[in-house]
Symmetry: C2
Subunit: 312 residues, 2 copies
Amino acid sequence: MILTVTLNAALDITYRVPRLEPRSSHRVREVVERPGGKGLNVSRVLAALGHETLVTGFAGGPSGERLRTLLAEVTEEGPVGDALVPVAGNTRRTVGVVDEAAGDATRFNEPGPQITPAEWDRFLETYDGLLHDATAVALCGSLPPGVPVGAYGTLVRAARAAGVPVLLDTSGEPLVRGLAARPDAVKPNAGELAAITGTTEPLRAAEQVRRRGAHAVVASLGADGLLALTPDGSWRAEPPRRLAGNPTGAGDSVVAALLAGLVEGLPWPDRLARAAALSAATVRAPAAGEFDRAVYEELLPGTKVTAQLVAA
Amino acid sequence: MILTVTLNAALDITYRVPRLEPRSSHRVREVVERPGGKGLNVSRVLAALGHETLVTGFAGGPSGERLRTLLAEVTEEGPVGDALVPVAGNTRRTVGVVDEAAGDATRFNEPGPQITPAEWDRFLETYDGLLHDATAVALCGSLPPGVPVGAYGTLVRAARAAGVPVLLDTSGEPLVRGLAARPDAVKPNAGELAAITGTTEPLRAAEQVRRRGAHAVVASLGADGLLALTPDGSWRAEPPRRLAGNPTGAGDSVVAALLAGLVEGLPWPDRLARAAALSAATVRAPAAGEFDRAVYEELLPGTKVTAQLVAA
């Protein structure tokens, strides 16, 4: 089973309005609710790829209840196991307002529930138990209030002690602290790389991140594809053509493909080709956690993986 | 007991952001949830004025559950009885985004749950039962999908048949249809008056609305106070000074004051003075359903009620 951790899961709410006009009142035309949070997206994609997967993290209050109901309903692509730890606070909502005239979206993200020390301890116990049956684990997204900023360091160390390969996908200080615990892989995007290294040149930034502790760095560079620095070599992976669409969740699909390729025992270049094609196919799907299967199968054979010369 | 009906109750969610920037992603600084919907605001104000009051209408799903929890917690001002009828759909949310730099708000209102014919029938039974103990009833706000557009006509007729004075506060076609059933009073604002009569001159518009069936018309004209055409005479009511603040809920406070004055047996001019002062005191409170008691008590003695000469 592939385990994903989403400490700050969300109930994703999307509103469609004819036009967003600040300072006015809008009648929302359509309301769509989805389970949200990076790890949940990763698990949904893994399930669609035919992998057994389980989500953990926190869920609480009416939004948490709704999130769990929606997660149980997502079975078209394959079931996602729910091992979320109940908390007293209310799971955060994220509200995305889609302006139908402009075709763009404005997002409002709640901070998330306050996690108590007892709830954090309960999560750590659950996590340790789940690691026994995990073939790989992904640690995804931001931390809710109350969770220690060094949380990902703790979770990376526990996975490594249990012999479970661990991928970390977060940003800022939680990423910096997680890196020090030497995760098997991290998957920053260009903005996250720049934020923690101070350089906007992806290759140099990725090298720095690798020196800080990650065994492999897979940087997602939007339409430019992926840049990977791994113990087996360095590569760029690019799908055969650039696709316009909704980039939300593209990075989560990269994480799903990397984990799937890892547990299937694929070599890095094959994992990267799949990750780049799956990421592009996610851009063509209406929401994060979903991808266009026909586009994926069409893009995969043409996705180019080229070796990179990188200073040791 | 004063009964209020809110067929499209809402969970009101307020987000504070440093600045609203369309097409970007915002971290919400503060999330406040309140029971929402016009009738609920009216009942909260009535409870604060010391009146026994009960809300009915519909509530369902996780938002409905949260709304009922919040309503039960609103006891500072006095208890509000909950006779909301459970439905399968999810109570709508209204999201207000406060831009802290500009000091203004942008609102997104969900349409509300689909009400089934069986749920509407269950409501009608509940309503008929509640009318037995009601000294007055207010019918407030928009209709959720599935409720017949002539709903307020039905509810006005049932109240009149039961001998319970009925005030209608809605807009558009539901108001037009409700008027035909001859409610004791309606409380349109200037925009609503103009929308159904086609004239922007409040006195002429109010006269038209009265001819269409309302025994009394109390028009709320924002900072200009109230204009009332009643069977006992016509008046304007104006607080001694104009106050800046948040106008949301000011009209609901007018309804609360009118009902309170009615059941206390006050003459119209006294009801109107209270309504105008309470409305202004609501503008000084942070949210709908609340008012600044000190401001109310300060404004009331100076509120001017002047008789109007109106063509018969």
